[in-house]
Symmetry: C2
Subunit: 288 residues, 2 copies
């Protein structure tokens, strides 16, 4: 066998930062099922559309309001209509909790109805002290079986890491939101501080992205500069009125991916939800 | 009938800022049932103790673990033991959500078991865009029937006001928390900005207080300076280790009231929860 003369037995001692760079914590972690499913879906179907399942019985067509299980029947209709165009689904827990236990049962049934190869982000905006966040993480990932979750960052690192310890799952931390209230605390500086922390968590855990509202394309660019690779979840297209073109250009990462654009009311209350989802899919694809 | 000469028919036109000062929005609002119950309880029982109902089946005594309804049976035992010393109860939703629908059923039954004259704060740390916060507010105040709630402020005003519009209920907004992660974003300045906003909401709605962690007595004083009258909910005594004396002195308002001190694990997992609650009650009372 050919050998270089004087080649060290343990090369990492000679070139500790060159030949054998330190691996981040997540390098040998279990496969992240959210990223796997989402990346496959983006590659196979060319779609960056996240469909928000925020059903409100007062707004849905009358035939669903009259059915025995309005939330579930309406969600089934939306999922059937949009499954070819959806990169993922995002039910917001609030719209199920507002109907009490019956609403949460409808959510569970909805989650079971979503095809296994389409990932689910449970929009929960949770966050509490460490041992309490562990309980929330268990609720979201084990009880509901979501692939990903949204989190609120106000309580800092120990409120986030219990979620990141679920290596198969993914967490989107609120960074800049699309509502009027984003002015109150997030702007002009806090969201950048939060973005830097999200990148720190992403570097250490490999499963942490950001929520970045589409009403602020120039700020999305500054978030992308701080978080070069991780996924951005972008609400605020449609009902909340953001500019699609500038948003997509600011949000994509170096692989021309790494973002999903959510539309809830714009799709689910459209006369033709399938056409609306397809329209958003094509509009995004025309920009990248 | 006696009349002053030249007395104007509509005095408010002559003395618009004197005789008939503008009333804040909440002046004619329905009675706030949380404040009514809590103030009566503080006056009648001389207690500022909030008992945190954060039952974890892994930590409760074995006889409850083996019962058919561990969460409910354990909570009944805690409520029976502490009802004479509790100013209010505070279940944290996370510890019920972690057991799925069965956990939330246990929470509903627990809420029904709490005596009607003791108010309940549902520790939920919710907050989302306006129409979604409205759904959460309905869940917390109508579905669960809580008297008060805790909220996360990251998303700003329109995420908070849907809760404040429930005039009979009360909202505690996270200001400074008792965990390590409070260093990440809240300190050194953000919590003061949040405190100023809370005071603004309190002035306009009359039913908004703050969560102020007991691990930071000097910061509680700065919060109290910004929020002179509203209630402060103070976690972090006991398991999280805050200093009681300096906390109480910093937290009380000009009426020597306006605060409640929460203890969860310190009371519910004590060998004698009644004695532990009584001890905290007397320790606080000895300081005011």
């Amino acid at each position: 066998m050919f050998r270089y003369r004087n080649f060290p037995a343990d090369i990492s001692k000679k070139y500790p930062r060159g030949w054998s760079r330190a691996k981040p914590e997540w390098y040998n972690a279990p496969v992240n099922k959210f990223l796997t499913k989402l990346n496959q879906r983006i590659a196979a179907r060319q779609t960056f559309v996240c469909v928000g399942l925020d059903a409100d019985t007062a707004k849905m067509p009358e035939k669903f309001q009259k059915s025995a299980a309005p939330l579930l029947e309406f969600n089934k209709y939306i999922i059937d209509a949009t499954r070819d165009y959806a990169a993922c689904y995002k039910p917001n827990l609030a719209f199920y909790e507002m109907y009490g236990l019956a609403g949460l049962q409808a959510l569970q049934a909805t989650l079971r109805y979503i095809p296994e190869d389409i990932s689910v982000i449970l929009d929960a905006k949770r966050g509490d002290i460490g041992n309490t966040s562990r309980a929330y993480a268990r609720a979201v990932f084990e009880e509901f079986g979501a692939d990903a979750v949204t989190l609120a960052p106000y309580m800092g690192e120990d409120s986030i890491t219990p979620f990141l310890e679920y290596k198969e799952n993914y967490s989107f931390v609120l960074c800049l939101t699309s509502n009027q209230g984003a002015q109150d605390f997030q702007k002009p500086e806090l969201y950048k501080k939060v973005a830097a922390k999200i990148q720190d968590w992403q570097t250490r855990y490999g499963n942490c992205g950001a929520v970045a509202g589409a009403t602020h394309p120039e700020e999305i660019a500054s978030i992308r500069a701080l978080i070069p690779d991780a996924f951005l979840l972008i609400p605020g297209v449609g009902a909340q009125g953001g500019e699609l073109a500038s948003t997509v250009r600011a949000a994509r990462n170096r692989q021309n991916s790494g973002f999903i654009i959510n539309s809830s009311r714009g799709i689910i209350y459209a006369a033709d939800p399938a056409a609306e989802a397809r329209k958003l899919q094509l509009a995004i694809n025309s920009l990248i």
